[in-house]
Amino acid sequence: MTFVVTDNCIKCKYMDCVEVCPVDCFYEGDNMLVIHPDECIDCGVCEPECPASAIVADTEPGLDKWLKLNGDYAKVWPNITVKRDAPPDAKDWDGVPEKYEKFFSPEPGQGD
């Protein structure tokens, strides 16, 4: 069991989650974060910290795509444990539907 980062992180990328994660299991892409499923201990601390409510428990239905995406990119993106400023237009993207289809970037972020 683990938590997964989902669509609403894309282009919001607030990064509040990385500060509270006890096991440093967030990895940074160009415009979103993911959780490493083998490192997450399911403590759930990050879930309420996300201003975009983008983090959900993997026990919720319909998450196959996000489980795979989190697992795949956690292996190739850099680790992030220190929060930086969110994108200046983060608020404008909060809640925009289908961000994955339109905006997802497979490029790595800068990491710590």
């Binding site: 006890p22 083998d38 201990i41 403590c43």
Partner: protein, 141 residues
Amino acid sequence: MSAAKSAVFDVPSEDAIARLVDDFYARIRADAVLGPVFARAIPGDWGPHLATMRNFWSSVMTASGRYKGNPVAVHSRVDGIEIEMFDRWLALFEATCRDLFAPPLAIEFQAKAIRIAESLKLALFYLPDRPWPIESPKDAS
């Protein structure tokens, strides 16, 4: 002190977490099954481990960010750890929470512990080619 013993915490304060950690690990060390495993893993001074666990529970219960570590890696190095031990660990943890905390707080701690224990069990013992959860011997037909 009997006054301290009768204290019941209802929020996850520093004091509450310190009492939980001290009391819980005293029970662990006295336990016939878990005691020897922990004694092998922590052969010397328990001070650093207790401090680590206070930080861990502070992070988990109050989002303080004080603990940063890799418990999966740490547990994978522990000699003699068996999957059934997690239930015993959880039973001692629950009893400690029940003794020290008001019921809603005890339930909150226990819920976190159950989920974390499950993820550690998966990380340490899950294999793709066998069923999960692994049946304990008494349940196996």
